[in-house]
Symmetry: C2
Subunit: 463 residues, 2 copies
């Protein structure tokens, strides 16, 4: 290289450098992150593991044998990865059995009889044989229910029919607005003397699939049987009722709650090289509704959490803090796994510093979220350029039902989260449609890489 | 309202107003756009029409009876909408018949014989009975092929095996890098005396589905039979070849090109209230590969284009310029529909001012694109706040194979485009997996609403 050329080279280089922010983590971190994404996008390991989980342990609601199989499967997956440690954390969970396939039909003198797709709500009591038949009172809000005289409700079936709002751009908002019908509708109807409860499924689409999910009875209220019917069936029931107030609804469920039974959280970790007692938790919930494969809710989140560890291993990232993947048991029912994990961490004097939960489906990631104070958020925002190539925004948010209980013992814990695209989620959430074939490998892996990246940066630089 | 309060109210209002850009189109346009999205998100009309198109006219490659059925179906859909005009534009298209189901197998003395999933490339010649068998030369680049002595190629089958790069974040880039194998691989192999050609399918995934697509022979080169095999089969063939150079590949195809046959572009329009002879074209291509339902490629783009008109109608938007939805025939083979549309527009002295093509799948829209000069792009950027609520970026780009020919006659035409998420596209592109059930209604409708919004703003304010 001639002198003049060298001079010009240095001048140009200095000029270019002047455009790079002073505290930029380029290029070392950018390279590591690129490698994380490359490995994620070219690997089929997580995807094949999710397939196995979905297809061999479908219906793994807590207390069921399928849940025990899922525990063993994910334990074996993590053992096969030669992590620093893999163990089971015992937790007692509730049990419940759906019983025989539900039967539901609308019986109208004017329109005839039609069978409708239905499923019992989770932890609902059954009607038993020979089922339950009554006239129907339709309401679209709690106010509407409460405004009615008791005489109009007593001995009837209350039909909650507030649709999930399709015009919300974020479908979680629609779910949040409507899910009260499922969680507290039966209890509220029971208070007014209703003998049964029919819920419009929590689906964003008008289709034929009933969606289950937990309902909460209240101690002081006699529980009443409760089912969800498909949104299309809800539309039919509503339109028939508009003309034939005297129609009857019949349903038969044989579901039954059982005693508490032993189960486990499944945990694997990469031990921290500098502060092994400071723990970054990344997890999803292993249980899934008994009618579903639980691919997006939340087998995918579990497998992504394991994948974070594999992406660290494969790229030779030895974390300074311990990074722990947790498959929480029983998110869907009573969040016992999350509670057990938090209280045991506290009892063992672990230092839980951060927790990332993936439980919004494994679609294309739009954002990674952090809940921090102003100073933390400011530092966090400086990482945005590292996520820009992957079209992932850094926003505030994070936490979740399983990592939430940690806050009680670790008020300063940093909650993180992943926010995927959500247009497709609520047509399969808690329904038979939540199957492996609805998962795109690249989308799931982009999410896992985003999670690994956030944890890598937090582990290295803190917040 | 007390005086003091009124004063404070005005002060606060003025303060707030000072943050609104001087030339903001808020709030009237924002309300219209919100209504466009609301209507899109709550309607099932386009979705049901796409289902009908996919399920009753699957395999509608140009020249086939299914294509004629698709012409009639979309014509009827637009007639049912009471547009200002609906008509068919005749165009002569090529015809080709795949013939009997393809047979392909690897025959190795060392590993045995295995049948592999395959399909003939579009417009390839067939092997005829009894098929073709030869030793295999694997190459991963054109350079590699050309560097080989003719003696190594002559009488052999050339196997093009350059994978679509999974680490690209945009999968269209990967397609662009690899698709030469399909389009010109057989011609290049033929030049060197190969007797057949096997192509690794243009799939971003390692799976069992062969992907078809057009291949272009060259006039001076004797055409040779050519098939695509699944990516998984390509991996097997490659790994066997590494050990057994003498293995044979056998395939049998009976495909046959036919004469040109008459077909149509299907066109419907809303006439402009002020400048009816100035036309904004929005379209997709109606033809789809013969092995696919063509849901994402490009039935969805056609139906979105019709939906733009419906969203205008439903929201009482009377465009100043004519807005025309065009279902182009024959994008996949020779783009005859696009050429016919452009030359006829010119012959009729229409003034084509803008054209938006949707042909990248109907996934969640990420961006709307425009190709304009600096001044146009500057004005366009001022519309970004109107798209922000829908998480749609305004970027440069647009155009496409069908609207492209307009440029020849209208050098100043403004090309627009829609850029959806693309992680899922290339596992179904040109394959049997491109089915209606892979389309999410909300995602498709968000795209249609984004298209309608861009056209609405352009029609109202120009660029």
């Amino acid at each position: 290289m001639k002198k003049m050329n060298l001079f010009r080279f240095v001048a140009v280089a200095m000029c270019l450098l002047s455009f790079i922010p002073a505290r930029s983590q380029q290029p070392e971190e950018a390279t590591v992150i690129r490698n994380i994404f490359n490995e994620a996008l070219t690997s089929y390991e997580a995807y094949h593991n999710l397939e196995k989980l979905c297809k061999t342990t479908a219906g793994r609601i807590c207390g069921r044998p399928e849940a025990a199989e899922a525990v063993e499967l994910t334990r074996q997956i993590m053992i096969g990865m030669h992590l620093d440690s893999v163990w089971l954390q015992p937790v007692m969970v509730k049990s419940w059995d759906r019983g025989e396939k539900e039967i539901a039909r609308i019986v109208s003198g004017k329109f005839g009889t039609v069978a409708v797709p239905s499923c019992a709500l989770g932890w609902a009591i059954g009607t038993g044989d020979p089922g339950l038949s009554a006239r129907v009172v339709e309401v679209k809000s709690l106010q509407e229910l409460k405004a009615k005289p008791r005489s109009e409700i007593e001995g009837r079936i209350v039909f909650f029919n507030q649709p999930m709002k399709q015009t919300n751009l974020g479908t979680f908002t629609s779910y949040g607005e409507a899910v009260w019908q499922r969680t507290s509708g039966p209890a509220e109807a029971g208070k007014l003397g209703a003998i049964g409860c029919v819920i419009r499924s929590m689906s964003i689409e008008i289709d034929d699939f009933p969606h289950t999910g937990i309902t909460h009875y209240e101690d002081a209220v006699k529980p009443i049987p409760a089912i969800a019917i498909s949104t299309k069936a809800a539309e039919i029931l509503s339109s028939w009722l508009a003309v034939d107030k005297d129609l009857n609804f019949y349903f038969r469920t044989t579901c039954l709650a059982g005693p508490d039974v032993p189960s486990f959280n499944v945990i694997g970790e990469l031990r921290g090289s500098e502060s092994p007692n400071e723990i970054i938790t990344v997890g999803g919930h292993l249980d899934a509704w008994d009618i579903a494969q639980g691919a997006h809710d939340d087998g995918g989140g579990c497998i992504q959490s394991i994948e974070v560890l594999r992406l660290f291993q494969k790229n030779g990232i030895r974390p300074k803090h311990t990074v722990r993947a947790v498959m929480f048991m029983d998110e869907e029912v009573a969040q016992r796994g999350g509670q057990q994990y938090a209280s045991e961490a506290s009892a063992k004097k672990e230092k839980q510093i951060a927790a990332l939960e993936s439980d919004r489906g494994v679609f294309q990631p739009k954002a990674m979220a952090v809940t921090g104070n102003a100073e933390q958020m400011k530092k966090y925002a400086t990482w945005q350029p590292l996520f820009d190539p992957y079209d992932i925004k850094l926003i505030s948010g994070g936490g979740g039902a399983d990592v939430g209980p940690l806050k009680k013992f670790y008020p300063d814990i940093l909650f993180m989260g992943i926010i995927p695209e959500d247009q497709r989620y609520f047509k399969l959430h808690h329904a038979t449609t939540d199957t492996f074939d609805q998962v795109d490998r690249r989308e799931m892996q982009m999410g896992a890489a985003g999670m690994a990246t956030l944890i890598y940066l937090y582990d290295k630089f803190g917040l």
